[in-house]
């Protein structure tokens, strides 16, 4: 039973790493800031969840698992907030998206800059 958990945990961790890798590829190849923020932050939190779940399986019920869950909670708290703030800053700095035009941005900007 123990090494079944070990292999399951290892598999989940590898899946998380794969997701992170795909995210990194996305950040490298996407054309503009917004798509890169999208690629990076989603695969970050997703990869982190998978990987930490895998490590929790390996470590079983112990203090280490508590620390892993805490790491997961903090990543869940900070990574999306940072990505949101970054997209906010890029938007208010006037970065227009490369593909298509956000009509709401124009309205907001007209409305915003009184």
């Amino acid at each position: 039973m123990a090494d079944a958990l070990f292999w399951a945990g290892g598999g989940l961790a590898a899946a998380g790493a794969l997701l992170a890798l795909i995210g990194a590829l996305g950040v490298l190849r996407f054309p503009d800031v917004y798509t890169r923020i999208h690629a990076a932050s989603i695969t970050d939190t997703g990869g982190a969840t998978l990987m930490i779940l895998g490590l929790c399986l390996i470590s079983g019920l112990s203090l280490v698992t508590l620390k892993l869950v805490l790491v997961w909670v903090f990543i869940m708290l900070t990574s999306p907030a940072a990505a949101n703030a970054l997209a906010n800053a890029a938007y208010s700095a006037g970065h227009t998206p490369w593909i298509g035009s956000f009509r709401i941005m124009q309205d907001n900007r007209k409305g915003g800059s009184r």
Binding site: A13, A14, A17, A20, L21, V27, A40, K67, V71, S79
Partner: protein
């Protein structure tokens, strides 16, 4: 064995992030690369703790998960608002005040 594979995958993802940080056209790409690099480093630290048999070293991953947020905010504030001291709000304290 799988953990070492996961660590290798993370290392490749981190090097891609360094590439994005080096060549990123706009500053926001660089902040994004730094932020994502930080999160991947947290995961790599967790996996290294397990691969080398001392999982008690998760404290370092834990602390960096917090510090990464602060560095990203400082960089974002620097590039966007050119000031580290201004509060991140648009209404003056008298009127808003609760954020």
């Amino acid at each position: 064995m799988l953990l070492i594979g996961a660590a290798a995958g993370l290392l490749v993802a981190m090097s891609l992030m360094i590439a994005r940080a080096i060549m990123g056209p706009s500053h926001y790409d660089r902040i994004l690369a730094a932020n994502s690099f930080g999160t991947k480093t947290v995961l790599l630290l967790a996996i290294i703790g397990f691969v080398f048999g001392r999982p008690a070293f998760l404290d370092i991953a834990l602390v960096y998960a917090l510090i990464n947020f602060v560095t990203t905010i400082a960089l974002m504030k620097f590039f966007r608002y050119r000031s580290l001291a201004a509060p991140l709000t648009t209404h003056t304290p008298k009127e808003g005040g609760n954020g």
